[in-house]
């Protein structure tokens, strides 16, 4: 594939997009793991939401 004299601009655009999308995906995935871990810790310590108390 020949990208011509402006190949650097085209490749930079695709690289920047890939980087931003990858960063967004990683941030959302890491945030999910962090929230799951925090919830797990709290439940292990016996903390329950009101809607989950009394066997509800």
């Amino acid at each position: 594939m020949n990208l011509g004299p402006h190949a650097d601009f085209i490749l930079a655009a695709y690289a920047a997009t890939a980087f931003i999308v990858a960063a967004l995906i990683a941030w959302i995935a890491l945030d999910y793991s962090a929230q799951r871990r925090l919830l797990g810790d709290l439940e292990e310590r016996g903390v329950r939401r009101r809607s989950h108390r009394d066997g509800a």
């Binding site: 594939m1 011509g4 601009f9 997009t17 959302i28 919830l39 709290l42």
Partner: protein, 243 residues
């Protein structure tokens, strides 16, 4: 299932768990197909191979605006109907919309240099797009720095609705003012001016980016619901501890 059932966060999380794997697969498939078509697309007769930047720039611009439109609907849900998931939807969409707007600005700049001879000009379209990005940052600052999440959400909702005025300005800026940016060439009376060999890859990439947006939005909404549960449980734990 009635739509109102989606207002229940627990039920919503169950639906997200079922839908998300399918959305991820569809997004990956659409990107694989779209990128293959983008690579194979012919050069433009004037712009040469730089037209390939359009396959990123145009969908990112659309989704940056769609993100704000979605946030505006969510803001109405927060302020008027106090829908339990409206604020969650608005807060989850903000960083994603900001990221797509940033992609639009960067790719536009990299497309502008070989096409116009400048990375940036204070043109109506470019400036209004930059304003959209700054508005996104403002909303994120309100969400992330407010001590009381409820008050932060209401302030963000008001700013979102005020900022919605910018959407038609972006859309019609190329018609209202003399602009270096090209005019409407896709959705116009008389049909698109883009050849089908370039229009189809663009359409597939737009579909892929849209699927990516909704995949990330659902995942971010799930995270936000979990974050609120953690916060509630931490408050309850603090209240139960003996003084």
């Amino acid at each position: 299932m009635p739509v109102i059932d989606l207002a229940n966060p627990t039920r919503f999380l169950r639906i997200v768990a079922r839908v998300l794997p399918w959305l991820i697969a569809a997004t990956a498939l659409a990107f694989a197909f779209g990128l293959a078509r983008a690579v194979a697309a012919p050069d433009d007769y004037q712009q040469g191979a730089t037209v390939k930047i359009m396959f990123l720039h145009v969908p990112a611009a659309w989704l940056g605006m769609m993100g704000w439109g979605l946030m505006s609907l969510a803001a109405l849900g927060t302020l008027v109907w106090r829908h339990p998931l409206a604020d969650v939807a608005g807060k989850a969409a903000a960083p994603i919309g900001a990221a797509f707007t940033l992609i639009c600005l960067i790719t536009g700049s990299l497309w502008g240099r070989p096409t116009w001879g400048a990375y940036w000009v204070w043109d109506a379209r470019l400036t209004s797009e930059l304003v959209l990005f700054l508005l996104y940052l403002g909303v994120l600052a309100l969400y992330w720095t407010a001590e009381d999440p409820g008050r932060g959400a209401r302030a963000a909702a008001v700013l979102t609705l005020v900022g919605a005025v910018n959407l038609p300005i972006i859309k019609f800026s190329v018609d209202w003012w003399n602009s270096l940016h090209q005019g409407e060439s896709i959705f116009r009376a008389g049909g698109s001016t883009i050849d089908a060999s370039i229009l189809w890859p663009l359409a597939i990439m737009a579909l892929a980016f849209t699927l990516l947006f909704f995949t990330l939005h659902l995942a971010a909404m799930r995270n936000e619901i979990l974050r609120r549960r953690v916060r509630t449980m931490q408050i309850m734990q603090a209240q139960e501890q003996p003084a």
